[in-house]
């Protein structure tokens, strides 16, 4: 059973929302989860309608059945100081390094160190145990970088271990890599039923597999209901225009005669239906593509009014029903 859930996907597919819903879903029935943000955008705080998260794990939501969702926005600079302190007891030296600009260097310029710190912190939370010897968090859910960067992001410790061939950084990097490549970790992809996100999902999964990183499921987000298909629309356009106009008129939308209010609705409505049908067709093809990936698929409906807190709980409930237990 994986305990570190890495949620990636193309930009704009709703990674943060899905990660948050998953954190809520997995916290149900008295469990405790940690939702981790690594991109510094404070998307989690916005989603849960709270003030910006500090670099500190704090409870942000209660899940159905008494569970708890905690959240942490990892700031690379704090993470580095934290790390120095934790491993080297370098409290004051850390501050001196900061004065020198070394921390800036480490977190913005030095290759990959930033990503090392982010993944390292998440893995630390996964492994952390309380006084009772049990894990502090049942699961850790990471709102991760987008598909294009995810493999490199997760593999950064591998690269660093090669760069620093001995010493504490080497050992730390190796330890993180062991967690990330173990069945404890699952990398999930969020996608929409559109060509580009589906293509990126497929490419991303190929990359993850090539590098031996454990793939989880694919979450199809913002699924819209199919109301009419192509055949129905063609039928309407090709033979039933008058009947449709009459039906519209009967429903109180004006006259069905040529030029009548109801009759004038037929063309624009049919045009919309054609677009809809085209999309339904496209979505069918994309869904087939995703099925071919051989991973569990989960679907979340489009919340037409945008995602607010209530919507988030609804998505979490949906996800929970579909999630393997």
């Amino acid at each position: 059973m994986s305990r570190l859930h890495v949620v990636s996907g193309k930009g704009g597919t709703g990674k943060t929302t899905v990660a948050a819903a998953l954190a809520l879903a997995l916290a149900a029935d008295g469990r405790r989860t940690l939702l981790v943000e690594v991109e510094g955008r404070q998307g989690i705080a916005q989603l849960f309608e709270t003030e910006p998260l500090p670099y500190e794990e704090r409870k942000i939501a209660t899940a159905p059945g008494g569970g708890e969702v905690h959240a942490l926005a990892i700031d690379p600079e704090f993470a580095l100081l934290d790390y120095l302190h934790m491993f080297y007891k370098l409290g004051s030296a850390g501050r001196a390094l900061k004065k020198l600009g070394a921390i800036d260097f480490a977190t913005t310029i030095a290759p990959g160190l930033r990503d090392v710190l982010l993944t390292g912190k998440a893995c630390e939370a996964v492994r952390r145990k309380g006084k009772d010897g049990r894990f502090v968090y049942d699961s850790v859910i990471m709102d991760a970088p987008p598909t294009g960067r995810i493999t490199r992001f997760l593999n950064v410790n591998h690269e660093v271990a090669g760069l620093a061939r001995t010493g504490p950084i080497h050992n730390q990097a190796q330890a993180v890599m062991r967690v990330l490549k173990s069945p404890q970790t699952a990398v999930h992809m969020v996608t929409l039923l559109e060509e580009m996100p589906v293509q990126e999902t497929a490419d991303g999964i190929t990359e993850l597999r090539a590098d031996g990183l454990p793939t989880g499921g694919v979450i199809i987000n913002m699924v819209r209901p199919a109301i009419l298909d192509q055949e129905a629309v063609e039928a309407a356009a090709n033979g039933q225009r008058t009947a449709v106009a009459k039906a519209l008129s009967q429903a109180g939308l004006g006259g069905a005669r040529r030029g009548g209010t109801a009759e004038r609705l037929v063309d624009p409505l049919l045009e919309q239906a054609r677009e809809h049908a085209e999309r339904v067709e496209l979505e069918r093809a994309q869904r087939a593509e995703l099925t071919g990936l051989g991973l569990p698929l989960h679907e979340l409906e489009l919340l037409t009014d945008g995602v607010d807190l209530a919507g988030l709980y609804r998505l979490a409930a949906d996800l929970r029903k579909q999630w393997p237990t």
Binding site: K10, G11, G12, T13, G40, R41, G43, L84, Y88, A93, L97, K99, L100, G101, A102, D104, F105, T108, I109, P111, D115, P145, G148, R152, E159, L163, A164, T166, G167, I169, H170, E194, E195, M196, P197, I227, L228, E231, E234, A236, N238, G239, Q240, T242, A243, K246, A247, L248, Q250, A251, G252, P268, L269, L270, Q272, A273, R274, E275, T304, D305
Partner: protein, 446 residues
């Protein structure tokens, strides 16, 4: 009624203006930034300009559509674009490592260049860790502009965590180079030379000790060798980054913030607008992608839903009046009619009523006398319309919120395409839609 009506962004005028030499498309992920850059490129070329599109990380099929599937860091002519007007479209994808390597080769003597290129620290740095992309995008843009071969350079920004990180590149590089840390890194070579620096030296050796302890001796040596080898080049680096930064501020550059009419994307867009203003970067306007319209805006979502319900109630098998509805058909092709009805009975509807279709459609051979199908069809059309109108309303509200915050920012709306864009025809269609406002803008007057 909108409170503020934003001025319209005239993209054609922007592309046609010979003074416009650089267009930068920025925006958060997934809003169609790269597609917009490519579509503007196609349109500008077909309007007679010699254009190069520099993309950072295009989706594969989009790259293919412009014939730049191979990543080789050199602009390639895109076939079948421009021509008649003398315009040309070239496109290239940024190859970070190669740009970095070329920079080193151009700015260091051969021996030093070899040492740098072989350094493991350099190899990781140039292979594209977070941060490098921004510098290299700036570097490439500067190079393209310096060559002065194109009328217009269109660039999309790197997909970094904050899409405006590239604006920080010169400053960050500067603060690093001016900082003491680099001196600490180089310490072994320099320490001990000067008298009266004893205090600093103690600090420095303690620091090197700390850094060495954390990084491991071998990595520290790699970093030091790298820093020493790059020493002479760092200055040039910064000079170039600063020059490009000033180039972006200069007249002749136009920033376009790209967004989709969704809450998060427009919130990011508002942030970009503010950030560009703070950096005194010339903002031309907002491109609002995937805006929905409707040819039947006079019919509200509420009325459409109510009408659909009426039809569903009427569509009750217990209601004998149903039959009175449909008799005449002025659309008179009987063959087509038959096909239509059969398809319909085959489950053309994906909604809840489909289970009953067969039972209540006894005369499949004579479809137009089948009231149920027409009514159900009409109800489906109305439900779809209601959904569309809800989308429209939501998009309008998010757009209005943005306009209220930034009423001065001109906006170009791009009507949504039903399918995805992955070929030149699609890019042309987007360019067309960028230039011609979608129907819904008419609504703003009402």
């Amino acid at each position: 009624m909108s409170m503020d009506v934003a001025p319209r962004l005239d993209t054609d005028a922007l592309l046609d203006d010979p003074q416009t030499r650089i267009v930068v498309c920025c925006g958060s992920g997934g809003v169609g930034k790269t597609t917009t850059a490519a579509a503007l490129g196609v349109r500008a070329a077909e309007r007679g300009r010699k254009v190069v599109v520099l993309t950072i990380d295009p989706a594969r099929r989009l790259a293919q559509s412009m014939g730049i599937d191979a990543l080789d860091n050199v602009p390639r002519r895109v076939a079948d674009v421009g021509g008649a007007n003398g315009g040309e479209l070239h496109a290239m994808m940024l190859d970070m490592k190669r740009t970095f390597d070329e920079f080193v080769e151009a700015h260091a003597d051969p021996e030093r260049a070899r040492a740098i290129l072989a350094n493991p620290f350099y190899q990781s740095l140039s292979a594209g860790f977070a941060g490098t992309q921004e510098y290299m995008a700036m570097e490439k843009l500067g190079q393209l502009r310096a060559r002065d071969e194109w009328d217009l350079i269109i660039v999309d920004t790197p997909p970094s965590r904050s899409a405006l990180d590239f604006l920080d590149a010169p400053k960050r590089l500067g603060s690093f180079l001016d900082g003491k840390f680099i001196k600490v890194l180089m310490a072994p070579a320099k320490v001990g030379g000067k008298a009266g620096m004893k205090f600093l030296n103690v600090g420095v050796s303690m620091m090197t000790g700390t850094v060495s302890k954390v990084l491991g001796g071998q990595l520290l040596r790699d970093v030091q060798t790298f820093a020493a080898a790059m020493d002479t080049m760092f200055g040039g680096f910064r000079t170039r980054a600063e020059a490009t930064y000033r180039l972006l501020q200069a007249p002749g550059t136009a920033f376009l913030v790209v967004a989709a009419p969704e809450r998060d994307a427009l919130r990011e867009a508002a942030y970009f607008v503010e950030r560009l203003a703070a950096d005194q970067m010339p903002l031309a306007g907002l491109v609002l992608n995937r805006v929905h319209g409707s040819g039947a805006e006079q019919l509200s979502a509420e009325r459409a839903l109510a009408a659909a319900e009426t039809l569903c109630l009427a569509d009750d098998p217990a209601d004998p009046d149903d039959a009175s509805l449909a008799h005449t058909a002025e659309d008179s092709d009987p063959a087509k009619n038959t096909t239509g009805a059969e398809n319909l009975a085959d489950g053309g509807f994906v909604d809840h009523h489909s289970g009953n279709a067969q039972a209540r459609n006894p005369s499949a051979a004579d479809p137009d006398v089948s009231p149920t199908s027409a009514e159900r069809l009409a109800a489906g059309l109305l439900r779809l319309h209601a959904e569309r109108m809800q989308v429209l309303g939501r998009e309008q509200r998010t757009h209005d919120r943005f306009t209220a915050l930034h009423p001065e920012v001109p906006v170009a709306q791009v009507a949504a395409l039903p399918g995805d864009v992955h070929d030149l025809a699609g890019l042309r269609a987007i360019g067309e839609r960028l230039a011609v406002p979608p129907e819904r803008t008419k609504r703003a007057a009402g």
